[in-house]
Amino acid sequence: MSLLQIAKLSGGYGDVDIITGIDMHVGAKEIVTIAGTNGAGKSTLIKAAMGILPRIAGTMVFDGIDLMKLQIEDRVRIGISYVPQVRNVFGTLTVLENLQVVEHAPGKSARIRDMFDLFPALAGRRGTYAENLSGGERQQLAFARALMSSPRLILLDEPSAALSPALTDQVFEEVKRLPQADVAVLMVEQRARQALAFSDRGYILDAGRIVLSDTGASLLANEEMGDVYIGRGQSQAAMPHAPSTHV
């Protein structure tokens, strides 16, 4: 049974639908990547799943619970976490406060210790204001903040945005570790080729509609789709051990 089941989901801002007729699912401990061209509606889809999109229609069920009736705060309570693309930490709060402020985290002190064990770089900077952290440390804090409530599904909006290739590798390593902690991942990622390489499944979004879904490996093997939606040349160049071919 799927952890998250989305059917006929449409929505957007104002009167304009950004996403239309989305059918998708995420299983427990699964990593699912949403790829597509710029403006395809990838981030909008993630926001819809978190309940941030102002207008949505369709059905969304998380572990048997109807998400359409829940506020954002209640989605956190039932086990969904969200890491936005930008402003993913509270810059005016310290590292420690960023973790303390999360609700629905039973045994908060112990959970904070767990987070510092998981992300040791943050432990030494617990009194530092988050706005003074480096890009990599910020992303680690964003993950730690999202994991504080012991979620079963984490929604990641472009976790590698604005990060160097080295930091991107580091962040992706952290994403790969999440299923080991019983956390499923639904991720939007511009570096789709790199993300699909370790994803169980993927969806390709174009103009707000899903045009293809398959396993991560199969999507990578689909040359025609890859050229159009995954950005083969650019992505391969970004891969650490990719052959240096350019289109």
Binding site: R77, Y82, T92, L93, Q100, V101, V102, E103, H104
Partner: protein, 291 residues
């Protein structure tokens, strides 16, 4: 101009600044968390001053009880207006909420005028002689005012920086969307915010009533200097709001020595203009960068 006059003006500016720091802090908290400039702040102060006087007139009792009554009354009205007006407009633009707050300000002032008329009132306190240190005069009442304001400010800063409620307030001020995604319920924080903002305006009004003659326009006329002080300190910065309004008040009082009381506001605004030209984000504000 001799230095003793300047020193007295500075002391007076500090006292006025400290009592105005309470509503200024309310302005900056509401601006940071509810995200609009609350134009009713001045009239909540007026309500606090009138409640202090009414409490003394009809209930007797000590000034402390009267001031606590004023804080309770303004907190209650502030919460009522939140539930009645501002909560319904939460999703509307900040301009809509600003205009609504001007409406609330008129409603509060008109209600006060309806019951109290345009007569002048004073808070009933025994007259005390100022201490004189070689020409530098300090009123014991002013020390009480500064002490009360300092205790209140310290309390709210402790709440903001040492308690879970304060963390939630700062998180919402930082990013409402991320706060919701962290499970923080904004409504509970809003109730606390409006109660604190109201209580601070009430305390500020009661202390102002001790220092000045109470009229229905008392707080409204102070609104622009309070906004100016908040801007000078840096919008959204609680520490900046306090230091900004104290600086602005000192500037006004010192300016009055040179240009007379009629033009002191003009000179203080000129100083504000100069500071903002050099540092547009204010003394403690963060520069706003485009992503």
């Amino acid at each position: 101009m001799d230095w003793i006059s300047i020193a007295n003006a500075v002391i007076n500016g500090v006292v006025i600044g400290m009592l105005l720091a309470l509503p200024a802090l309310a302005i900056t908290l509401v601006f940071g968390i509810a995200r609009f400039p609350n134009a009713a702040t001045g009239d909540y102060m007026t309500l606090g001053a009138y409640t202090t006087i009414a409490s003394q007139m009809f209930l007797g009792g000590s000034i402390v009880v009267a001031v606590l009554g004023a804080m309770t009354m303004t907190a209650a009205i502030s919460l009522l207006m939140y539930f009645w007006v501002f909560r319904a407009l939460a999703e509307r633009s900040h301009v809509s909420r600003l205009i609504a707050s001007i409406g609330v300000a008129f409603a509060v002032r008109s209600t006060i005028t309806f019951f109290a008329g345009q007569d002048q009132y004073v808070v009933d306190l025994p007259l005390v002689r100022a201490w004189n240190f070689g020409g530098i005069r300090i009123l014991p009442t002013d020390l009480y005012i500064v002490g009360a304001a300092l205790i209140a400010l310290l309390l709210v800063f402790c709440v903001m920086y040492l308690t879970p409620t304060g963390r939630r307030m700062r998180a919402i001020a930082d990013s409402p969307e991320l706060a919701a995604a962290s499970g923080i319920r904004a409504r509970r924080v809003m109730i606390f915010l409006w109660a604190v903002a109201g209580a601070f305006c009430g305390l500020g009004g009661a202390l102002l009533g001790i220092k000045a003659v109470v009229l229905p326009e008392l707080g409204w006329e102070l609104l622009m200097p309070m906004f100016a002080g908040v801007i000078l300190g840096g919008i959204g910065s609680p520490v900046g709001a306090v230091l900004g309004i104290v600086t602005f008040s000192i500037a006004q009082e010192v300016a009055s020595l040179f240009v007379g009381p009629a033009y002191k506001v003009v000179l203080a605004f000129l100083i504000l203009l100069c500071v903002l030209l050099l540092r547009p984000q204010g003394m403690f504000g963060r520069p706003i960068a485009a992503r």
